[in-house]
Structure formats: C-alpha cells, structure tokens
C-alpha cells in the first residue's frame, strides 16, 4: 500500500495499492458523476447506495460478509467513465450498480461486460443500453420508450389535449423521451405544434415560451431536467402562458418548486412510482433525509433498489462469482423494492414498468393519476 507511493514519478500506481485491501467485504461498484455539472445527481445516487448497504449490513450482510460501496467519479464522460469502470473492476468488485448519464454508462457497460461483471443500471433510461445483446446488464428504472407512451396517453386520454408542444434539452435521455412522446401523441391524433430543444444552463427561455404560446398548445411537455423545468414554469407564468405545464420524470425534484415558487403550482410530472408516494418507502425517505440532510434525488430510490436486488441475487446465488450473480439476477421474480415489484426480462429491463403522474400542490409534489388495469385513469392512492 505504501511502497508504490515512493515512485513519485508514477502517481498512477498508488491507485493499485488501494484496491485489493479488504477481501472480507463484497464490493459494489458505483460509477456516477461526483464532480462537474451533474455532481448533485451522482452524489444522491452514491448516497442511496450507501444507505442500502448500511441497511443490509445492519441485518448481517450477505453471505456473512459486509457490503462495501465503492463510488467512482465518471464525470458523465465516456473516457473518464471507462477508467472509473476499469478501476472498479481492478478493485475487485462483485457487481456494479449505478450510472447516471447514458453517454458514460455505455462504455462502462462494455467494460463491465468484458470483465464478466453484471451491471445494474439505476438511472440511465436510454433503450439502447439493454439492447446491446449483453446478458449481464439490468436496470431498475424504466426506459424512455415506455414513459413516452404513458405521457402521450395522459396528455391525449386524460387531459384531452388537441394541441401539444414538446420541448427537450438535447441530451440523450431528454431527446429519447421527447421522441417517444411525440410519436405517441401523433398516434393518438394530437397535433404536435412545436417540438424543439432548449439549451440547458441558459436561464432565460422566455423567447421559446412566447413563441410556443403563440401557437396556443393545450399542453407543454418538457422532457429535460428539473432546473430548467423550474425556470420554464416560472417564466411561463410571467408570460401568462395558459397551456398546462408538464414534464418527464427528471423534473420531479423539489428544486423545481423552489425555483418557480407559486408558479410551480399545477406542474405535472410523469414518473415511475416514487418512494414518497409508496407506503413501503416512507422509511427510506426519512432515513435518507436524516443521513444526508437532504431529500433523496429522483434516482436515489432506483439505486437503492439496484443495490438491494443485487444483494438478493448474491444471496440467492450463494456466491460472489459474477457469473452466478448474473444468473441469479435473471431468476429474480417479484422482488418487492421501493419502486415496486421487480422482475427482469430477457434483456434485463423490468417486466412491469408502471408510471404515475405527480402534481405540485401547495408547494410539494402530490400523487396524481395512474392507469388501472382496465385502462381507466384513477387517482394514485398513497
């Protein structure tokens, strides 16, 4: 551990030393952005992983061993991502659970696959990630092409909108969701009067909004992230935009409400069922808030589930051999996670990805509507 440090000219070597140290734990690798513009999302994910591990460890761990979470910074960048993944592999992880940006997740996934290590994705929703033909990729979150049709159905079937505007932010996730939503809307006969992208970080979107409002859509659906969503809500209110403001699951964050203030009232987000609204997950929210002094991020619950389901698979396999874990993950059936029942299909996606809407009411997200088995819109019961 110390010796390589002496090679001052080769500081890289010191990272080797750190890895193989504690053989009595089972290591879970969590590659997420810990610096750069996406750091806040990555830190929320890593914290959720630690919370899940702590809970499992407190209950005796897995196979008699403790779980150790090793988070590595991928800065949402392909090059750094592959290095983070490789560092985790060399560090002897049994499984990887994590990811945030699809752009970094893909090369990470290739690296893990090559090393035979299973990867349970928590937040990267791009459909392509599970269609690479790898049998060791799983994900606890739904895919963009599943949320899009749900959003489309809500806009046409529940809101009975005739005209809709869809805005994305030109990131992989956002564009994918927007494309799928637009396709669903068109299929349902809704006139998509505007479909364009904004630049995240630009702050002022009133030019776009005033143009959109001149096209008088009934609904504006924004598929990007919460910070721009807050600005859109706020600026739309200032412009007296009458269209209903909606967003995808990445807009489901309290920052939206803090940014837009009263203008956030009525913002509707499509999302997978969140722990906040699931009776079984109340504890998670409390624990997370207590441990990290902040509410969980939008993907924290998915990461929590990813770690939990991975631990379950290790227990089922009775081994930390990656091949055995992969096989066990494929056999997982109806595991009750925070985000609902988890069963993986052949490519590793969840068989049932259910969605709900949440609405900002009195300064907080409140449960909205969901589709019941008969295809009717019913309120979500807490």
């Amino acid at each position: 551990m110390i010796k390589p440090l002496l090679y001052a000219g080769l500081p890289l070597l010191m990272t080797i030393g750190g890895s193989a140290a504690f053989a009595d734990t089972i290591k879970f690798g969590v590659p997420v952005p810990l610096s750069g513009p996406y750091a806040s999302a990555g830190i929320d994910i890593a914290n959720a992983a630690k919370l899940a591990a702590a809970k499992i460890n407190a209950a005796g761990g897995v196979l008699g061993k403790q779980i150790e979470i090793v988070a590595e910074d991928d800065t949402c960048d392909a090059q750094t991502g592959v290095q983070a993944a490789q560092k985790l592999i060399d560090g002897g992880i049994a499984i990887a659970t994590g990811s945030y940006c699809s752009g970094a997740a893909l090369p990470e996934l290739v690296a893990f696959h090559r090393a035979g290590i299973p990867y349970v994705l928590d937040a990267a929703t791009n459909p392509k990630l599970t269609s690479m033909g790898f049998d060791d990729v799983f994900r606890t979150i739904g895919r963009d092409d599943e949320q899009g049709p749900f959003a489309g159905a809500y806009i046409s079937g529940y809101l009975h909108a005739k005209k809709a505007a869809v805005i994305d932010d030109n990131t992989t996730y956002s564009k994918g969701l927007a494309d799928n939503t637009v396709a669903a809307l068109k299929k349902d006969g809704v006139d998509v009067v505007y479909y364009d992208a904004i630049t995240p970080g630009q702050m002022d979107y009133s030019a776009v909004l005033s143009h959109v409002s001149s096209l008088s859509p009934d609904v504006i659906y924004y598929t990007g992230y919460f910070s721009e969503a807050g600005l859109l809500a706020k600026e739309a209110a200032a412009l007296h935009v009458t269209a209903k403001m909606m967003g995808g699951d990445a807009t489901n964050d309290t920052t939206l409400i803090k940014t837009a203030g009263p203008a956030a009232e009525g913002w509707t987000a499509t999302t997978a069922p969140l722990p906040q609204f699931l009776s079984g997950a109340k504890d998670f929210v409390t624990d997370f808030t207590k441990a990290y002094n902040t509410a969980p991020g939008p993907y924290s619950a998915y990461e929590y589930d990813a770690v939990s389901v991975a631990a379950k698979a290790i227990a089922d396999a009775g081994s930390t051999d990656p091949k055995a874990i992969t096989a066990a993950l494929h056999k997982i059936a109806n595991y009750q996670g925070l985000t609902g029942s988890i069963t993986f299909n052949s490519v590793g996606d969840r068989t049932i990805a259910s969605y709900i809407t949440v609405v900002v009411k009195d300064g907080a997200f409140a449960p909205g509507m969901k589709l019941d088995a008969s295809g009717a819109w019913v309120p979500v019961q807490q």
């Binding site: 890289l12 990272t15 610096s35 590595e72 910074d73 392909a78 490789q86 893909l106 290739v110 090559r114």
Partner: protein, 608 residues
C-alpha cells in the same frame, strides 16, 4: 557536437516508448485504460501543438476535428459497412477539409479573434452533431465495430492501447519530421514574427492554412481511434471543455516541444486519475495545481529547445555545386533591362497625414542607391510600399518593366526584392543558420511529401540549400555562429544576419533599412565593404541610412527625402553641397533666436 546533444533525448524517448509498450504486460486494465487515455490525448495534443506550438495560432475548437474523425468512422462503419481501416482515410480527409473550411476565412484574424472563431467552430460542429438525425442526435452512434487486425478484433483495453501506441509513434514520426522540415521552420518563423516572415518571403497565409490542415488531420485520426475504442460516440465527448483540455496539455507541457506535449498529456490525463483518492476535492486540487505549475514554469514543464539543423561544414558547402553566392545571383539577374525599379508618383497617406507625397525615382541595375533624409521623412514608408507591406495610396511601382503594385510581400520577395528592417526583426528563437534558411523559403520547389519522405531529389535540394545558406553566412562573416540562437548575437552581428537572410533569397534588389544603426566605426567599415561586395555579386542595393560617412562612401547615387518628398537626387558630392539638403537634414545653420509665431511668450510664473 549537435549530434551529441540530440542523441540522449532521442534515446530517452525511445526508451520511454518501449516502457510504454510493455505497460499492458505488467499493469491492470485500469492502468492500461488510463495510459490509453494519455496516449489518445497525446496524439490530439501533438496535432494541436502544430497549430498552437509550431505556428503560434490560438485554437479553442480543436475538438471539432476530433469529432469529425470520430463521426466519419462511426457513420461509415454503421452505414456502409466499411471496416475501421477503410474509414480511416475518410476521417483524416474530412477532418482536413474541415481545417480548410475553418481556416480559410479566418486566417487573417489576429490571434485573440481567432480564438473565439475556433471556439465557435467547435461549438457549431458539436451542435450540428447533436441536432442532426444522421449523427444519431444526442444519442450519438452505437455499435461501431472495433478495429480489426488480421482477424483479431482489437477490443480489449490492452489491444486498443497497443494500436493507439502504434498511432502515437506514427504521429510522433510525422510531427518530428514536420518540425525539421522547411514547413516547420516556416511555422516557427510565423510564430516568432508573422510580419517579418511574410516580408522575407514566407507565404504566411498558406503556411497557416497548412498548420490548420495538418493539425486537423491528426485530430481526425485521434477521433477514429476514439470511436473504435468505445464502440459508441455521442456529442458530449466533443465539447469546448475537451478542446480546452488539449490546449492545456500543449501549453502546460511546453509549446512546440514534443517531449513537453507528451509530459503535458501525462499530467492532464493522469493527474486527475491519481487524485481520485481526494474524492470531491479532486477537481479543485487539480485546478490549483494547474495554476501553480503555470506560475512556476510559464514556459511549460518541458520548454521547446532551440530548433537545430546543423549547418554543413565549410568544405561540404564549397563542394556543393550551385551553392556559390556569385553563381546564384548571376543566375537570377541575367538578361533583364537596365532600369530595375521605378517608383512613379508613389504616395501614402496615414489617417490624413501624407507620409509619402508623390515620390518619383528609378533604380538602375547594379548601382548602390541611398535614400537619406531626417527621421520622419518617409523613407521607411517608401520601403514598405516597395515591398508590399503597405499598399501605396496612389502611384505605381514598376519592376523590370512590369507593375509590382498590390502584391503580397512574400510574392514581392519571390520577384527578387529582399529587405532588412530598421528595428532588427530576426526570428530570435531560431538559430542563425535557420534564419538564413527561412529567407530561402520561396526558393524550395520540392513538395512537402517528398521532403518528409526524404526522397533522393528532395534531399539533394535540401542539401543544396543548406550549402547555399552556409555560404551566405560565410559571405557576411557569420559562418562560425551558425548554431547560435539568433537573439543572442551581438547587435552588429544581428544586422549582418538580417542581410544574409535577405540575400539568401537571391534578390536582384536588396533594400537595407539603416543597416549601420548601432554599429561601431570598425563594424561600419566592414559593412561598407560588405555592401560593395553585394553589389559586385550583381545585386543592386537600395539603402536607407543616417550615417553620412557610410552613405557618402559607398553610394553611387543619393536620393534626399524630406517630409514625404524627394528634394534632391544626385551623386554624393552634389547632394552634400546642396543647400536645401543641408538645411533639411542638418538643420539651419543660421542663428535664430526669434520665437516662432505659433508659440506665445511664456507667461510669468507659468512654470514656477
């Protein structure tokens, strides 16, 4: 001697590469991946180094070329099914074309404006890739096949690393050869002093363009490698931040220094990895380290050394046919008319001020003609008009019976007019010998490719020019200083080197702007001899000089200028006795105590 100083570096470099080649056998994949990133950055930085380091142009959008290479390979592979190696030429060519597209309209911009234009270009390329469907939009392109080598897919980090290392070696050979080539020399001259380079015959716009294009080619190659490594690309890999990282590598390492750039790549790509144990503090500490490194070593971690091309020995130079000054000049001056140059009513106005107001004179072949006159008389402006540095506001310059107006300075040099400067403008960070070689730039005929490949006839030409350059140094008496840094020469020697640099272009007319300035009497004596010897070779000399002893001693004819006009022309004796000249040049001799009318008498106490 120079050979000896070169060898340890080359040996160390090769040793380092061999060590690098063995990394996959000893290290974890993680280390290999980091090393691969370093190598990729190394390739890109070597490419950017051509633009920033060699040619001195600021480029903040280099990632654009990287992107174009990556997208070309990815699209061709996924759309047409070409394999990696087949797409590679396309990537490189497309990146090169992009280099032309961005370079052409912007080459005339000053460097800070160039910075934002290149930045804008980089952003434009990225946004186009994000917005178009064919490029996969923000998703980018997936499922790119890895490079294949005799049936083996190069997918494992170790295999890709080896491939990248081979590319790096290729690029290294290319950039080292380029650095030694005449193009490399032209780039350096551009970086040192663009206007002077142009004025001694370097076609600066074309040379800048080549820097862009060759830099772009290497960027394209890096991009292809990147695509093959990850099997997937998306626009987020080609941001402004990426361009900036590559720029940091070049500047931190040492602009123009190949080992420096490689060290820079190791620091910039490796340090953040080495700092992973700092978690959240990693980027902050890296930023602070960057600032401190730059403060401690403003020239870079491993600054570029003086370019060294050894001058041939005396015997070697003398033995080379066609390298003799007299013979060279004779070649160029045969069979032309007696009036070499004629200035017809040349005027130049600067913001309402007539610096040159309708000047007429002729220069006869084979004479030594001097232009004298007080400071501000417009002499240097006449030189600048003659050599194309400043276009005359009106009037014509006739050269060998044909008009010479509105030609770029380097073309004027190619026609046979060479000059020196009033304030010495040598390329300080080139050797004495290479300064002379820059002056010969326009005389090279061999293509760059043949020079790089060291084809026999190209080597012959290089050899001839080196010998000729060596002889010109000997002609002005600087042969023994050939290997010194030009900026380190004493003042008088710098003046003579400027003359040698101008002569090396085989001019028919040599324009000397105050060559004796700062020389002591002994040096001036030898300068007079030198000017006469230049004339004896058959080169006509046009001289601006304040030193009357020199002017009167050496000139066949003298033109006197005052306030933008020619006030007298004639033999030295005529001019010396012309009262108008004496008054204009030396000031009035009469006692004059009267106050000038436009100045009132000093009010009492005004200056108390």
């Amino acid at each position: 001697m120079q050979g000896l100083t070169r060898r340890p570096l080359a040996t160390a470099g090769i040793a380092a590469l061999i060590v690098a080649a063995f990394i996959p056998f000893f290290c974890h994949n993680y280390i290999v991946d980091v090393a691969l990133t370093i190598v990729t950055y190394g390739i890109l930085a070597l490419g950017l180094n051509i633009v920033v380091g060699y040619a001195g142009l600021l480029d903040l959008g280099y990632a654009a070329f990287f992107a174009i290479g990556a997208y070309t390979t990815s699209l061709l592979e996924t759309l047409t099914g070409l394999n990696f190696w087949e797409t590679l030429p396309f990537s490189i060519v497309f990146a090169g074309i992009a280099g032309i597209v961005i370079g052409y309209p912007t080459l005339r911009l000053r460097s800070d404006y160039l910075a934002i234009v290149t930045l804008g270009f980089g952003e434009i390329v990225r946004i186009i890739a994000t917005n178009l469907d064919i490029t996969g939009g923000p998703n980018g392109i997936y499922g790119i096949n890895p490079a294949n080598f005799f049936g083996h897919d190069l997918t494992a980090p170790k295999a890709v690393y080896t491939l990248a290392l081979v590319f790096l070696v290729g690029v290294l050979i290319l950039v080292i050869r380029l650095g030694q080539s005449r193009l490399g020399r032209a780039w350096t001259s551009l970086r040192e002093d663009e206007a002077a380079a142009e004025a001694v015959g370097v076609p600066t716009l074309r040379v800048k363009m080549l820097a862009y294009v060759i830099g772009a080619l290497i960027g394209g190659l890096g991009g292809s490698l990147f695509a093959a490594r990850f099997g997937a690309i998306d626009p987020t890999s080609f941001t402004y931040a990426q361009s900036v990282s590559i720029l940091i590598i070049v500047v931190l390492g040492g602009r123009g220094s190949i080992p420096g750039v490689l060290v820079g790549a190791i620091v910039v790509a490796g340090l953040p990895e080495a700092l992973r144990f700092l978690h959240n503090w990693r980027e902050f500490i890296f930023a602070v380290a960057l600032i401190i490194l730059m403060l401690v070593r403003p020239q870079g971690l491993w600054p570029a050394r003086l370019r060294h091309i050894a001058a041939p020995s005396v015997d070697e130079a003398h033995a080379t046919p066609h390298a003799d000054p007299a013979e060279q000049i004779a070649e160029t001056t045969a069979g032309e008319p007696d009036v070499l140059l004629e200035a017809r009513d040349v005027s130049r106005v600067f913001g309402g001020l007539k610096a040159v107001a309708g000047v007429n004179f002729t220069v006869h072949r084979g004479e030594i003609l001097s232009i004298i006159g007080p400071n501000g008389a417009g002499k240097t402006t006449v030189f600048n008009c003659l050599t194309g540095v400043i276009p005359p506001t009106s009037g014509a310059i006739i050269w060998n019976g044909r008009p010479l107006t509105k030609l770029a300075p380097h073309k004027v040099v190619a026609r046979g007019l060479a000059r020196t400067f009033q304030g010495i403008r040598l390329f300080d960070n080139l050797t004495v010998f290479e300064n002379v070689l820059v002056g010969m730039d326009h005389r090279f005929h061999v293509s760059l490719a043949s020079e790089m490949a060291a084809l026999p006839y190209a080597r012959r030409e290089t050899h001839l020019h080196h010998a000729a350059g060596r002889n010109w140094l000997e002609f002005v008496g600087l042969a023994s200083q050939a290997g010194l840094r030009a900026g380190d020469l004493p003042y008088g020697d710098q003046r003579r080197l400027e003359i040698a640099r101008a002569l090396a272009g085989q001019p028919q007319l040599l324009l000397l702007d105050e060559p004796a300035a700062g020389m002591n009497p002994t040096e001036k004596q030898s300068l007079m001899g030198l000017i006469r010897r230049i004339r004896d070779l058959g080169t006509t000399v046009l001289l601006i000089e304040h030193d009357m002893l020199l002017v009167m001693g050496v000139s066949d004819r003298v033109i006197v200028m005052d306030r933008g006009q020619v006030i007298a022309t004639g033999s030295p004796q005529d001019v010396q006795s012309n009262p108008r000249v004496i008054e204009a040049y030396l000031g009035s001799d009469e006692e004059d105590e009267e106050d000038a009318p436009e100045i009132s008498s000093l009010p009492a106490g005004a200056l108390a």
